[in-house]
């Protein structure tokens, strides 16, 4: 490097040396009353273009971004809306507060909520299962009408019935949500809230659905929710029904049967104690032996298998080692 180059280099470096990161950051608007933006008249067309682009691409909240187009200034911009996809999955209740008063949660049926998508959910009140629509806008979350879906299997003891009535009264009032990976909190302005914990789901079985076209999905998983004593079917579609590549994870509480695709259904269930084998007997065909599956870390066992056709109707029967029947349950058109 000769003198000329050295001088030019030193000059360029010296010219911007005072413009440290801190000084540039300090030049950003600070919290408090807005100060006039330093901007040349000549830059107005450019500013307008930036503003239009910012609004068009939906960064930082439209008009606000356009007025102050700096995405990282969280102190002057409202925080970005929370990602509601964190809601997807199965949550069980940890605490319930009704207008500021804690509600006791008896052992046994634990209320739970399953967000199949960010616009639909299944609520398990402890005694029955209901479905509802969900509307999420930023931190606001409201439920639609609760539609009775099915009673949960088994008896519903009195304490759980009391709790279930409370839950059904509180849920329609809830209107805000916040969530971390482990905890979901739904709150209302009247001091009511429900805190849910992410239910530890254990993977029982994982496979790829039988091939039947482009809606086959990439993964098909049977999950065990230990706290709730249920098995769930979860599948990941590779494509949405309208052909846009996506990855949607949905969780279903449909017991014993889930439609895998247009070709097959997956019949499954949680085996009662003493069950050594289970079979599915369709109404118009030979019986199919269901695969018994151990659940890691649990004495419980699950059974399941793909059956064809997709809308199979029949009966699942569980047997003891001596061939006697533990129980049997009809499975209707898996859809």
């Amino acid at each position: 490097m000769d003198d000329l180059e050295r001088v030019v280099r030193e000059t360029l470096a010296a010219r911007v040396a005072p413009l440290t990161d801190e000084r540039i950051a300090a030049d950003l608007p600070q919290p408090g009353p807005p100060r006039p933006r330093r901007r040349h008249h000549l830059l107005l067309p450019l500013a307008a273009a930036v503003a239009v682009a910012a609004v068009a691409i939906g960064v930082g909240g439209g008009v606000h971004y356009a007025q102050n187009p700096r995405p990282e200034q969280t102190h002057t911009q409202p925080p970005p809306p929370p990602d509601s996809s964190i809601l997807l999955g199965f949550w069980t209740v940890k605490t319930i507060v009704d207008r500021g008063r804690p509600v006791a949660i008896p052992s046994g049926g634990v209320p739970a909520i399953t967000f199949k998508t960010t616009s639909s959910a299944t609520l398990d009140s402890g005694c029955e299962q209901l479905r509802t629509s969900v509307r999420i806008k930023g931190k606001r979350l409201t439920f639609g009408s609760l539609i009775f879906d099915a009673p949960l299997s088994g008896p519903c003891p009195a304490p759980t019935q009391v709790l279930a009535r409370k839950v059904l009264a509180i849920v329609p009032r809830l209107d805000h949500w916040s969530a971390t990976a482990d905890t979901l909190q739904l709150t209302s302005a009247d001091g009511s809230s429900m805190t849910f914990g992410w239910n530890e789901l254990q993977l029982v079985f994982s496979t790829k659905p039988l091939e039947a076209g482009r809606r086959d999905g990439t993964a098909f998983q049977l999950m065990y929710a230990a706290r709730h004593g249920h098995v769930f079917l979860e599948w990941h579609w590779a494509h949405s029904s309208f052909g846009i590549p996506t990855s949607v994870s949905s969780l279903t509480t449909i017991a014993e049967c889930g439609r895998a695709n247009s070709r097959a259904s997956f019949v499954f269930g949680l085996a009662a104690p003493g069950t050594t084998r289970a079979e599915f007997r369709p109404i118009n065909g030979p019986p199919t032996e269901l695969t018994m599956m151990a659940i890691p870390g649990s004495p419980a066992k699950a059974f399941g298998r793909f059956v064809e056709p997709a809308n199979s109707t029949g009966t699942v029967t569980a047997y003891r080692v001596d061939g006697s029947i533990v129980g049997s349950k009809p499975v209707k058109s898996c859809n």
């Binding site: 030019v8 360029l12 010219r15 911007v16 950051a25 000549l42 990282e72």
Partner: protein, 182 residues
Amino acid sequence: MSASLTESDLGVVYSRARPGLIRLAVLLFDDLAAAEDVVQDVFARVHQKRPPVDSLERYLTTAVLNTARSLLRRRRVAANALVRLRTHEPVSAPGADELTPEQARVWAAITGLPLRQRQVVVCRFYLDLTERDTAQTLGVSLSTVKTLSLPRHEGAGSFPRRARWMTSNASCARLWPPVSPR
């Protein structure tokens, strides 16, 4: 296939790269507010276009250089009207008064260079790009960069050529008065 920039990546890139890009833009037109606007404009486009991550640095540099260029073109068109109206008083970016007298002279000469040449000087001696990289970044031929760069110092024999280059440019002539072989 190279990965595309995600929303969170963009936030990280924005906070890390923005100061450096503003400094680069200041060297091109010595105006902090304009530099901030140019950089913001570039990031607005990056958000829309999501260039591949592996070429992001070059993309940002090129985008700032090109945006600055079009901005300066627009400014030149409007300058006459503003001179007549006396409504626009350019505000130099802070720090100009912290230069030594020699650096102030050099800076004055650099700001007097034609835009393309100024870009080449900044790329070569601020960004430390090679001539080839400079050509690629600016989207011009290598020979253009060579023509616009300071002639190489290749011993005493190169001195007349360097002197000619300097004196052929009015700004440089003012900056580096008649040179004599050492």
